[in-house]
């Protein structure tokens, strides 16, 4: 790999380029955009979980004081399938005017039966969520020969049922757009992970040529997979602006964030795992289903929202039978969420592996070293175990004394993380300053700083001499910021641009190496016109396939059921580290999001009314200041591999490691995320299981039986990520 060996910035720690603007409150996000005559927009949503909408009448709304535009979400009659589905949108001169006018909308609707419980939706007599489709869809079965024979020949077989919740993205900046038309040209300020993707989507939905749409995203308050396209709200915002003849800003509320902009699908996994006497895995069987809302999930740039996931995840098992389905309920669609499918897959697989270790009387870390096919993770486990003190800390499950039990656990993950295709423009000015422009976006991941670091390193400049522009479709194209692909896609294009620029500058200035002491002199020879070159992504500078492992140490109070995480150790590979500081921040964030997934977060829906019961941040629990353990990060810096993204792999194994640590502490498994105190106490038999639980167990069993009936194979073969 041609990345420089001795460096000033590359692989070291540089503060975030836009940090001062963000810390001072100067950074302008979509919600902060203010244009002359700008109107305030809002959406009217269905309060029926299922209904046929005969008509939406907006005459009274249009006549209300201060209202400038009111539009229906769809023409004519249509069906809605979840509480929160968009019905209409209104724009007016103030927030108050719009909120007042929302009460004047008349909706002629015929409510229909609905269900928000996945087990109910799987019953044969259940009403269909979408009349044209069975509730169980998206089926996929894969099998190798002789799975049953392999189980029969196994020395040990364990079985378990594991369940994960619907998780919400909840970026702190809500979804939103500001849209402004100049004649037939549209400019939007969009909170998005893909300015070019948004441009295409706006152009298509609004029937505008792509060269008349500009999408800007200067600063962005987090996306986590939920902001790949304009969404219904973006299109409604642009339509309102067109009707009103004035700019419109439409920012969703936190309430709407819980309903209609995506989520991570749930899962119910029935797993059977076999091993030979030495502990080597021999056979694996999975039946699973989960929900991605009323359909199989939104197809977003960052991956499908389907409830399927890779199995047996990172392990290679000679005989496998995998049957997976997606069950529809009357709820908002899922979409990509930080490493879609992987934390789900990891939780079940890593849990059953630990249960196998218990059955075999083996150390679970040993079992991983024996079975994990990745050479990188093998190294990481060894390195991590040493640093974590695994050998000294490991005790037999449930064997610590007293009411507060301690335990440790570990888990591994893989993520493709590759990226390609970015173009970049590099401008060298006669005064020696540099500007780099790339149509990527910085979600808070530090991609702006990555660009600055690479350019400064390659050109031999101070960071301050390099200005960076991102988040604008007038800049050279780059892909969506998803799949942890951004760094691997962008950094090589900057490298290429710098190399070309240096060659051109050398030629025009007749200075062989214009860097360093000759820089200003060489730049001066440009006269009055800056030198502009276009860099493109090229092979050999970045790669894919990030492996990581995590170790967790927990304490569980067996009287209250409360779990306290003492420590998380991360050993993460991400190839060549570009900027250590922001890379580590992403890993902190991945771990903390994993803690939320493990212990706190769950979208709760009411079976009787079909509404989300915790559509805010006080009842949907995100990790807070009191919940943060010691987080240790070891980066397996491997410059020879090239650049790899890290945003997603670092969140995958956290919940699995925590769940295994809890099982190690208690001596019993809490098989469902999040691991809340009531579930801990129920697993310990300290509280009687709720009367519903027995019924749910029976329903779950019959649901798995339905999945097991899937003919094999029924879908085209797909290799897991």
């Amino acid at each position: 790999m041609p990345w420089p060996q001795t460096t000033k910035y590359f692989g070291r720690s540089s503060p975030r380029l836009e940090g001062p603007a963000k810390a001072a409150g100067r950074a302008r996000y979509t919600a902060d955009v203010e244009l002359p005559g700008m109107l305030y927009g809002a959406i009217i949503r269905s309060t029926w979980p299922a209904a046929h909408i005969r008509a939406v009448r907006l005459d009274q709304v249009r006549a209300a004081p201060g209202i400038r535009a009111a539009i229906t979400a769809q023409d004519g009659a249509f069906d809605v399938h979840f509480y929160g589905a968009e019905l209409a949108a209104v724009a007016g001169i103030s927030r108050q005017a719009v909120l007042d006018a929302l009460t004047l909308v008349e909706i002629d609707a015929e409510p229909r039966p609905f269900l928000v419980d996945e087990l109910e939706a799987l019953r044969a007599e259940a009403p269909r969520v979408v009349p044209a489709r069975a509730n169980l869809t998206d089926g996929k079965a894969q099998a190798t020969a002789d799975v049953d024979a392999a189980f029969a020949a196994s020395a040990a077989v364990v079985e378990g049922t594991f369940e994960t919740q619907v998780e919400l993205h909840h970026p702190l900046e809500p979804h939103g757009h500001a849209a402004s038309w100049e004649g037939d040209e549209l400019t939007t300020w969009s909170s998005t992970q893909a300015v070019f993707g948004c441009r295409s989507a706006f152009a298509q939905a609004l029937q505008v040529p792509q060269n008349k749409v500009r999408v800007i995203c200067e600063h962005m308050g987090g996306g986590f997979g939920a902001k790949f396209n304009p969404g219904v709200e973006g299109i409604l915002c642009a339509r309102l602006a067109r009707v009103a003849g004035a700019p419109v800003k439409l920012i969703l509320t936190r309430f709407e964030q819980a309903l209609a902009v995506g989520n991570r699908p749930s899962s119910h996994q029935q797993i059977k795992l076999g091993a030979d006497a030495t502990g080597r895995l021999t056979a694996f069987q999975l039946e699973s289903f989960g929900t991605s809302g009323y359909d199989v999930g939104a197809n977003t740039g960052g991956g499908s929202g389907s409830a399927r996931f890779p199995a047996p995840y990172i392990y290679k098992v000679p005989a496998t039978r995998v049957k997976q389905g997606t069950v529809a309920i009357n709820a908002g669609l899922s979409c990509a969420m930080r490493a879609p499918g992987h934390p789900v897959a990891s939780f079940g697989m890593e849990a059953i592996l630990d249960d196998l270790a218990v059955k075999l009387g083996r150390d679970p870390l040993e079992l991983r070293l024996l079975n994990d096919p990745s050479e990188i993770r093998q190294r990481e486990y060894r390195l991590g175990a040493e640093k974590f003190g695994w050998k000294q800390k490991y005790r037999k499950p449930g064997s610590s004394a007293g009411p507060i039990k301690s335990g440790i656990g570990c888990a591994g993950a893989a993520w493709m993380s590759g990226g390609r295709g970015t173009q970049a423009e590099l401008e060298i000015n006669p005064d020696g300053t540099v500007a780099v422009r790339v149509g990527t976006q910085d979600l808070g991941t530090g991609s702006r700083t990555v660009i600055q670091v690479v350019a400064a390193e390659m050109l031999g400049l101070d960071l301050a001499a390099v200005a960076v522009g991102v988040g604008d479709t007038r800049f050279p194209p780059s892909g969506a910021s998803g799949g942890s692909a951004t760094t691997a896609s962008v950094a090589p294009a900057i490298y290429d641009a710098c190399e070309k620029a240096l060659a051109e500058l050398a030629k025009s200035s007749a200075i062989a190496d214009p860097r360093g002491a000759h820089w200003l002199k060489a730049c001066k020879t440009l006269g009055s016109a800056p030198l502009r070159v276009r860099g493109v992504w090229r092979e050999g500078l970045s790669t894919g396939g990030a492996g990581g492992v995590q170790f967790a140490e927990v304490e569980v109070d067996t009287e209250t059921g409360f779990v306290t995480i003492r420590k998380i150790l991360v050993v993460q590979d991400c190839g060549a580290v570009v900027n250590r500081l922001t890379c580590e921040s992403q890993i902190n964030g991945g771990v903390i999001m994993g803690i939320g997934y493990a212990l706190y977060e769950e979208r709760v829906m009411d079976r009787a009314t079909g509404v989300v019961l915790n559509p805010n941040l006080e009842t949907y629990k995100l990790p807070g200041a009191a919940d943060i353990p010691e987080i240790d990060i070891v980066l397996l810096d491997m410059p020879e591999r090239g650049v790899i993204g890290v945003g997603e792999p670092c969140t995958i194994p956290t919940a699995s490691a925590i769940a295994n640590a809890v099982a190690n502490a208690l001596g019993v498994r809490v098989p469902r995320l999040p691991i809340t105190p009531d579930r801990v106490l129920a697993a310990l038999g300290r509280v009687p299981p709720p009367s519903r639980q027995a019924r749910a167990r029976a329903a779950l069993k019959s649901a798995f039986a339905r999945i097991a009936q899937m003919p094999e194979p029924i879908g085209p073969e797909e290799s897991p990520a």
Binding site: H219, G444, M593, L617, L622
Partner: protein, 215 residues
């Protein structure tokens, strides 16, 4: 009438900046009105109330609200139901305080009211009259504060949407507790949420900033 913020609740009683209409004064006015209401007729009740409590009868239409923000007094035309956050963001053009939950959970809208951190989304603008409001923009007019510098240096931020809120609460902490412990820093941050998970480095930054001048 009353802000629900902790700051208002903990304001010392002798605070000269307290709102001019107290609960007692309001009830006193109501009492005289009740006695005379039968004789004078209901029509004049409003007039009587207005005379007794002129400040209490504002709105529902937009009314002149004078706020002192970052040391500058400005008058805004606001409906009494407008929150302090809307006044700042939509009327004063100060977009440093962010709206992320609009119900006093995430802390992204935090400003200082007479030096105490409050959720601007949970307070009516008219309740902030008479007290100095400081937004994140008001902190760094002479360049970034040691805390802001430390947050940048330690990378105590990612997307940055929550950052102005954390900055305000930690600024208030630094004023009352210049050398806080880790536990005190966490407590000061306990009313803030960060979805990117920058907490460890926010804590580190606050501790680093507290050590800047001496130790």
């Amino acid at each position: 009438m009353r802000s629900k913020s902790g700051a208002a609740a903990s304001r010392p009683p002798e605070d000269p900046a307290a709102p001019s209409v107290s609960r007692r004064a309001f009830l006193r006015g109501l009492g005289t009105t009740a006695v005379s209401a039968a004789a004078l007729g209901a029509q004049s009740v409003a007039g009587e109330l207005a005379a007794a409590n002129p400040e209490a009868l504002r709105g529902p239409q937009a009314t002149a609200v004078m706020l002192s923000i970052n040391g500058v007094r400005r008058t805004f035309s606001l409906e009494p139901r407008a929150t302090l956050l809307d006044a700042l963001r939509l009327h004063a053009g100060l977009t440093g305080p962010k709206e992320a939950c609009d119900r006093g959970t995430c802390g992204a809208c935090t400003v200082l009211l007479a030096g105490m951190p409050v959720y601007a989304c949970m307070m009516l603008a008219i309740d902030a009259e008479g007290r100095e409001v400081t937004t994140v923009e008001g902190l760094s007019r002479d360049g970034p504060t040691p805390l802001q510098k430390a947050i940048v240096a330690a990378d105590g931020l990612q997307c940055g949407y929550c950052t102005p809120g954390f900055v305000m609460s930690l600024t208030a902490l630094a004023q009352t507790q210049p050398h806080p412990t880790g536990a005190e820093v966490r407590k000061a941050c306990s009313g803030h949420l960060c979805r990117c998970g920058s907490y460890p480095r926010v804590f580190a930054a606050a501790l680093a900033a507290s050590k800047t001048p001496s130790a």
